[in-house]
Symmetry: C2
Subunit: 159 residues, 2 copies
DNA sequence: TCTAATCTTGACTAAAAAGTAAGGTATCCG
DNA sequence: CGGATACCTTACTTTTTAGTCAAGATTAGA
């Protein structure tokens, strides 16, 4: 399993916009430089995020990008879905409902694994917001604990 | 996030070998036909699994492949690691220790997310064996419940 | 209005993953 | 021994993903 480059850098761009105050904007150049990617590449990512309603933009001099909503209202699962097919996709997208494309339809040995993992990942991501990712460096342990707790709570609720 | 084709079909191949009895073998042709992939493709996957010690093979007439160990002793996390880089890889492999390749070293906003997700996925996979995936169709719910339970138990143990 | 700064968009190029082809090697069996 | 079967290995082709380029459109301010 792999986190795609688009998911990773899209998330990084959002993370740069998250701490901005009211009326503040970052330009493509600023965002790209901080992440070490080209402005062309950053532009493509931000356009995807813009189209999906996660960021808003202003053109022209003094223009730039900002979050379309509060960082506390943007959850990780939504971000990942916007930047890629789903929080967890497979070659044989059994769980999306597109069953026709799969020759194993009706007797697929790995379907339960993929459905299960998809659920675990989705629930973990749904419990994390952009705002929670803001701190620096030392919050690795905090976030990890948070993801694990979330996983536990949701499992309890289902039981 | 995506499950690669190699991971998916490699797992499917193992799942075919899992129910074989002592001294039984499946040939490349048999495996490939059941999965709807070419023998060349199946051969590549089985070679990877063989090299990693998950399956063993016999050449010549009456030859074929079988599991190198009992299906109950092969866990999902090991399978996925063999078929791909890790249970969860990212463009910026912060969690693998290869920190130099990342310009965000020391101040990486998304590192906690990736480390956390990596842990959630690894624990879920470590709790599933090939033997548990053997049944057909109707065990989707069983496996899903199993993954969730595992997630819960492990979280408790850590707390 | 003119100009510089900035986002927008589609087409192009490069890199990685997936899949294919072909010749090599080992084993069985007559 | 010799042919048939089946795995082993490397190199190649195709497809997908990632990244780049360049021309267009919009806004602020002089």
């Amino acid at each position: 399993m792999k986190v795609s480059a688009q998911e990773e850098y899209g998330l990084r761009c959002l993370l740069q916009l998250a701490p901005l105050g009211e009326g503040e904007y970052l330009t493509l150049t600023q965002i790209a430089e901080r992440e070490g990617i080209s402005t062309a590449n950053a532009g493509k990512l931000l356009w995807i995020l813009n189209k999906a309603g996660l960021v808003s933009s202003i053109r022209g001099t003094k223009g730039g990008y900002r979050l379309a909503r509060s960082a506390a209202e943007i959850h990780l699962d939504e971000i990942i879905k916007v930047l890629d097919e789903d929080v967890l996709a497979s070659h044989c997208n059994s769980y999306t409902g597109i069953l026709d494309a799969c020759i194993h339809t009706g007797n697929c040995g790995i379907r339960p694994v993929i459905v299960g993992l998809h659920d675990v990942v989705r629930r973990a991501m749904a419990g994390i917001t952009l705002a929670q990712l803001l701190g620096t460096e030392s919050n690795v342990e905090t976030t990890l604990h948070q993801i694990n707790s979330l996983s536990r709570e949701t499992a309890h609720r289902r039981a």
